[in-house]
């Protein structure tokens, strides 16, 4: 029994479709060159010294006390942040799905889940320092504590938890909504109290999902560069250590070995999350809830939970508000009135703000449509078509999700600064705008692909088959059927890519050359120098840009998106 004839025929059919073949070839080249190759070169560089194959470089790196420290630091932070984020996320998700809350509280939830999306990664670190640091508004002026230090372990943990818990909240909310209320009603009916229902029904069903949320946050925390950079102080994590190894010690080979260590950790976590927990989550929580859930109205439950969530939400919002307000004070920590726009004007007059915004804006604007289109094409190929290289394309684009930006940055330095395999080939793109755009694309590709795949899975496969059957080739099917049906997903992918690019820092900070000024890099620089007011002014404008982009997208989707009616039908 051999499946050779069908394989040969499928190949022949594929070859009859030049657009499709071309697309696949281009995709494979892109993914290999800009995701696989930089990671491979890191591995090669760290085991291949002047005298052949060696583990000396690893040995040297692993013997460094500060690197050992960084590993334990990173894991400690990641572990705690994972647990805290999952817990806070669960609280929010539970209250939203199970408890009757006032409209105001519901609004607060929305804002809280939205804020981390539109703000650059280190905004919370900035406001943490400004509120609770030595000259902090709350510590110094409200509580009269003059020697509080926010730098270090707890600073990172708090800031990362606040940054990442909304992700857990959104994930867990989706899962809780999928729990069939009749399961819990059955338990109630048999005499279980509300607490018992939660511990014996809801929680066990949710457990794989919670594990999933924990690991996703764990990976994000390990990969995070910006927050530990600003608020870590002398508490170095892997991402910052690698960065310093390159920018401070000029030890590119050592940094490559370090990057391999960091990558190994995240890949392991990712593998567990993707292949074990995700499958388990899907197995326990399939299907849709059959009907609406009776919300908890019992005041003894709703009041404390609502209060707790509102407090947390208010705190997060306060943290974010601190940034624009901080940019208006004449001197943070010493002089609060009169409010002034001088920092904002200094951004443009003294610090080349216009160029920074233009560079960031233009580069992100170029990479966003590329990312959105690429991720839609990948999703289409992965969900709707079958061909040999499909597994490769799917695996590599998902792999990019597990690669920390810093690792990718080091990989690009090693991989392209001397050309491909240090041969000088393609050396030209190193330091150019092209490589920045490519990094933006690669960094946003996994999120876009993921949302594209889930959007496409909801479309009946036979719709595309029917178009194909009617005589349309792959390109026609994609343009006239697939793309119009996932227009919303495409538009939001476009904006997400834009926002992610314009707020990105971890990989880009290693690759940017003086000819380009990027906002995030500027903010990082000013925050490092302690010029918080200028950093805040930059960050405020950046938040306004990203928020404007999101608003514009919603407006677009309302007027040009797939009509709601069609969606309900699918």
């Amino acid at each position: 029994m051999a499946r050779s004839q069908s394989a040969a025929l499928d190949r022949k059919k594929l070859m009859a479709d030049p657009v499709m073949v071309g697309t696949i070839v281009v995709l494979i080249t892109f993914l290999t060159l800009f995701i696989l190759y930089p990671l491979a070169i890191l591995l090669v560089d760290s085991v291949y010294g002047d005298n052949g194959l060696t583990l000396d470089i690893f040995k040297r790196v692993l013997d460094m006390p500060n690197f050992q420290k960084a590993i334990t630091n990173t894991l400690k932070v990641g572990f705690l942040v994972g647990i805290l984020s999952a817990a806070v996320g669960l609280l929010f998700a539970y209250v939203e799905v199970y408890v009757r809350v006032g409209r105001g509280v519901g609004g607060l939830f929305k804002v809280v889940s939205m804020l981390p999306v539109v703000s650059p990664p280190f905004v919370l670190s900035l406001s943490m320092i400004m509120l609770f640091g030595k000259a902090g508004l709350i510590t110094r002026f409200l509580l009269h504590i003059y020697d509080n230090s926010v730098y270090g372990f707890w600073g990172i943990v708090i800031v990362q938890t606040l940054t990442f818990f909304p992700v857990c909240y959104m994930m867990l909310k989706g899962l809780l909504k999928n729990i069939d209320p009749s399961l819990e009603e059955a338990a109630r009916d048999m005499g279980a109290g509300r607490m018992k229902v939660f511990t014996s029904v809801t929680l066990p069903l949710l457990l794989p999902g919670l594990g999933n949320a924990f690991l996703v946050t764990f990976i994000e925390s390990i990969a995070d560069f910006a927050n530990p950079m600003i608020i870590g102080g002398s508490y170095d994590t892997l991402a910052t250590t690698i960065y310093l190894q390159i920018t401070g010690a000029y030890d590119k080979q050592g940094a490559a070995a370090m990057a391999v260590v960091l990558l190994t950790i995240t890949l392991l976590m990712f593998a567990v999350q993707k292949y074990y927990l995700e499958a388990k989550t899907a197995a326990t929580l399939t299907g849709k809830a059959s009907r609406g859930r009776m919300l908890i109205t019992d005041k003894s439950v709703t009041r404390p939970l609502t209060a707790l969530c509102s407090l947390a939400a208010a705190f997060v919002i306060l943290m974010y508000l601190c940034v624009p307000i901080g940019a208006l004070f004449p001197t943070w920590g010493y002089k609060f009135t009169p409010l002034t726009f001088k920092w904002f004007s200094q951004v443009f007059t003294r610090y080349k703000g216009l160029k920074a915004f233009r560079d960031s804006f233009v580069l992100s604007l170029i990479s966003a449509p590329i990312t959105a289109l690429l991720s839609m094409i990948i999703s289409y190929l992965v969900v709707k078509r079958k061909f040999k290289a499909k597994g490769f394309i799917e695996a590599v684009s998902m792999l990019a999700m597990a690669v920390p930006g810093t690792v990718l940055g080091v990989g690009y330095i090693r991989g392209f600064s001397g050309g491909i395999f240090h041969t000088g080939l393609l050396q030209g793109i190193y330091g150019s705008a092209a490589i920045l755009v490519i990094v933006f694309v690669v960094r946003s590709l996994p999120t876009g692909t993921r949302s594209g795949i889930s959007a496409l899975r909801q479309i009946d496969k036979s719709i595309e088959e029917s178009a194909y059957d009617m005589g349309a080739d792959s390109f026609k099917v994609f343009m006239t059927v697939t793309l119009p049906l996932i227009k919303d997903s495409f538009l939001s992918g476009l904006v997400t890519a834009f926002v992610r690019s314009i707020t990105a820092i971890s990989a880009i900070i290693l690759l940017v050359t003086p000819q380009f000024l990027l906002i995030t890099v500027q903010i990082n620089e000013f925050a490092e120098k302690g010029s918080y007011s200028i950093a805040c002014a930059f960050a405020t404008i950046l938040i306004l840009i990203t928020y404007g982009a999101v608003l514009l997208m919603n407006l677009f989707i309302r007027f040009f998106g797939t009509s709601r009616k069609i969606k309900e039908d699918m």
């Binding site: 029994m1 051999a2 499946r3 050779s4 004839q5 069908s6 394989a7 025929l9 499928d10 022949k12 059919k13 009859a16 479709d17 009946d460 036979s462 719709i463 088959e465 029917s466 178009a467 194909y468 059957d469 009617m470 005589g471 349309a472 080739d473 026609k476 006239t480 059927v481 119009p484 049906l485 797939t562 009616k565 069609i566 309900e568 039908d569 699918m570």
Partner: protein
């Protein structure tokens, strides 16, 4: 339609799939050979997993066969992609393009073929007329009922004037009454257009009502093919007899011949059945008895006992036991007939010509 009708020929077609659980290869379709006459209506009928849909999808080009060759007319089409094949498929889920209205859905295939605007308009309106959807061309597809959506799907397939029309369980999403009226519609349109049609279903009454020929598949192979009458009256196997209509199986030993009939001893009683080539006295044979071809009487047939007697309106439903064998009967038009009650003993009477020996 002005086009020359084409037949379809499957020459020793097989398709191998991998079992996702065990990782082992198995034949989803095995050595299927068919010759479908131009202009005829052929149904692939079988339980789920019998390979009927896979066969249809191989004809459409969505799947590639592992053995054998598929011919459309005289042309071998194995290596052609679906968009290059002169076939059109009507899908189970209708698969209408949700972002187009009725007109644009039907016009889609014509636009791809670069037909002129006026010509498209003329042909689309013509075909919508044929499927009785005139005046609906501006509607979005989600404003249509299931039956109307299915008509659009049919119109869309017909309008490109394919050589062969393929149906993948097109009526299974409709309610029972609509299913019946749509299948008459499909038959009417197919005959009016004179197109070759291949239809996949697991519903035997649909297959009977529609087809010139029925091909029954089981476990990836063809179990039997023939006209509906052929298959109903002369099934080759218990599987076919049971799948098409209801069937009772009476096992007996042949004892001899009597006046041109074979004598079968069933559960200790003699009964006459039509003779079959190669029948030998002493051999065991299975007689297929349709529920409607026997009646209950006081005497004169196989002694039996009533275990279920149930009034169903148009018929009285009986379950009786002949020895250890359960026999199901439908006695039509039971009004003014003697109704046997549960527990009564009586006689199972049938005409020798109405049974079929396997």
């Amino acid at each position: 339609m002005s086009k020359i009708k084409k037949g379809v020929r499957l020459d020793h077609i097989s398709k191998i799939y991998q079992d996702p659980k065990t990782g082992k290869d198995f034949y989803a379709v095995k050595d299927v050979s068919l010759d479908i006459e131009p202009g005829s209506f052929v149904t692939l009928l079988g339980p789920s997993g019998c390979g009927k849909t896979t066969t249809l999808r191989m004809i459409a080009g969505f799947e590639s066969p592992d053995e054998g060759e598929i011919y459309l007319g005289d042309e071998a089409i194995n290596a052609l992609t679906p968009n290059k094949r002169d076939t059109a498929m009507v899908f189970q889920s209708y698969a209408l393009l949700p972002h187009y209205n009725v007109f644009d859905n039907v016009a889609y295939g014509l636009k791809l073929r670069k037909v002129s605007k006026e010509e498209i308009r003329r042909r689309v309106l013509n075909i919508l007329d044929l499927v009785e959807l005139n005046g609906m061309e501006g509607r979005m597809t989600n404003q249509l009922s299931g039956g109307q959506q299915q008509r659009v799907a049919l119109a869309r397939a017909l309008v490109i004037e394919p050589s062969v029309l393929l149906f993948d369980e097109p009526l299974s999403n409709l309610d029972a009454k609509l299913r019946v009226s749509m299948r008459t519609e499909i038959r009417r349109i197919q005959q009016e257009v004179g197109i070759t049609a291949i239809y996949v279903t697991h519903d035997q009454s649909e297959a009977m009502a529609l087809s010139d020929h029925i091909i029954i598949m089981n476990g990836g192979v063809i179990a039997q093919m023939g006209t509906p009458q052929d298959i109903y009256y002369h099934p080759d196997s218990e599987f076919v007899a049971d799948f098409i209509g209801e069937a009772n199986f009476l096992r007996g030993t042949m004892t001899g011949m009597e006046g041109g009939h074979a004598v079968l001893e069933i559960e200790g009683s003699r009964t006459l059945v039509p003779p079959k080539d190669g029948m030998q006295p002493g051999g065991t044979y299975t007689a297929v008895l349709r529920p409607e071809s026997a009646v209950l009487a006081e005497s004169g047939g196989l002694p039996c006992k009533v275990v279920l007697s149930c009034f169903m309106g148009s018929y009285q439903n009986y379950h009786v036991t002949v020895g250890d064998t359960l026999v199901k009967l439908t006695d039509y038009n039971p009004k003014n007939k003697r109704i046997y009650q549960v527990g009564e003993t009586c006689s199972l009477v049938f005409d020798p010509e109405s049974v079929h020996i396997l």
